[in-house]
């Protein structure tokens, strides 16, 4: 009997990175940020405030283990140990479960600070599309939050919702964005208030002869509509940037841009690390403040 390959279509690619432009971290201030989200965990290590290494992986069933795995993967091939990290900040919904952190900071604050670094000081509105929630954040030129609004009532409009559709349609989650534009005409959106309704609607549309591409377009359209409502409610002020895993899905981001009639800034780094990056930057600032106080 032929073997059937079992593919988890929802699985996005985990990654780690080391800055080739920093050959040696010795003598530099090393700080770290660990963002434990509902779906993914990131660890970012800075050397004198410059990204030195990071990892981005799925959150397991045990948050402390996920934090340790993420920081170990980020430190891989760097020669760093936990003892070399001067200060670590934990963030995300699992922030209290980072066993080696010195402080915890909310993900709202960290995302704004991280987006300010990734996109530059002109960014004022940040849309963070996470695994199980969605946040609209306003910040000033320093990346300090001035207002926020979030919705985590339902998986619709989040990464988890996208994973459900990927599995249903047997399409790799990373291919959804491109595929959703392989259509003749933009279809009407599916339900944007409930991922269960959206899933059953998608099944019905497939039975009615819709192509996978058309169903994906309808789902991406629905997701964009949902987050646009959140953005409009919190107010839109340019420049605008998107962080989180869904920021990599052009099927959603381009539709948001079209609905809001605004172009999002192009990221210079992995959009999923914004929270951990912000935490690591805040860690550096705290160490420097403490050292300045001690020198007075």
């Amino acid at each position: 009997m032929a073997e059937i390959e079992k593919i988890d279509y929802w699985r996005w690619t985990e990654s780690n990175w080391k800055n080739p432009e920093i050959p040696d971290w010795h003598g530099k201030l090393i700080t770290a940020g660990v963002d434990i989200g509902s779906t993914s965990t990131q660890a970012v290590i800075l050397a004198d405030g410059v990204p030195y290494a990071y990892s981005n992986m799925r959150t397991g069933s045990n948050s402390p283990d996920s934090a340790i795995s993420a920081i170990n993967w980020a430190m891989k091939d760097t020669g760093l140990t936990l003892e070399d990290i001067t200060y670590t900040i934990g963030t995300g919904y699992g922030r209290v479960n980072v066993p080696f952190s010195n402080k915890t900071v909310t993900e709202i604050t960290c995302h704004a600070r991280g987006a300010n670094y990734i996109y530059g000081p002109t960014v004022r509105t940040i849309l963070d599309m996470g695994g199980q929630d969605c946040k609209a954040i306003h910040c000033d030129e320093k990346g300090t939050v001035t207002s926020f609004m979030m919705n985590d009532k339902c998986a619709a409009g989040t990464g988890r919702g996208m994973e459900v559709i990927a599995n249903l349609l047997a399409v790799r989650v990373e291919d959804i964005g491109e595929m959703s534009f392989q259509i003749d005409e933009e279809p009407a959106p599916v339900s944007s208030t409930c991922v269960i309704f959206a899933k059953s609607e998608a099944t019905k549309l497939m039975r009615n002869g819709w192509t996978k591409e058309k169903v994906l377009a309808a789902y991406c359209h629905a997701m964009a509509l949902r987050v646009v409502r959140l953005l409009e409610r919190n107010g839109m002020e340019p420049d605008f940037a998107i962080t989180g895993g869904i920021a990599k899905n052009i099927g959603v981001t381009r539709r948001i841009e079209k609905l809001m009639n605004i172009k999002a800034l192009s990221p210079t780094m992995d959009t999923q690390i914004a929270g951990a990056l912000g935490a690591a930057l805040l860690a550096k600032e705290l160490v420097e403040k403490k050292r300045a106080k001690e020198n007075i």
Partner: protein, 91 residues
């Protein structure tokens, strides 16, 4: 900072807006004792200011938690008790 706690679902949008910069300067914090559902709690924010927020386990049920209070009075009890005018509702 303007913090909006709540949610949007198929039936509408239910957010309580709190201006935490006003909370940090408020010594009274009458919203906490006046809310019959005990929705408000204090916490040190990321800048070590004591601010008011909506307790996490109540943020997705505001429509039902606030229903009685919203229907009975001209102004919600928390908003009426807030001397800093820091509390607002989206519905």
């Amino acid at each position: 900072m303007i913090a909006n706690y709540g949610y949007e679902d198929g039936s509408g949008h239910y957010y309580i807006k709190i201006d935490t910069s006003k909370c940090a300067e408020c010594s009274d914090k009458g919203c906490i004792s006046n809310c019959p559902e005990k929705l408000f709690v204090t916490e040190l924010d990321d800048f070590d200011d004591e601010v008011v927020l909506i307790r996490e386990d109540a943020r997705n049920t505001l429509q039902t938690s606030c229903a009685q209070c919203k229907s009975g009075a001209d102004k919600e009890l928390c908003a009426a008790a807030c001397t800093a005018s820091a509390i607002g509702f989206s519905w």
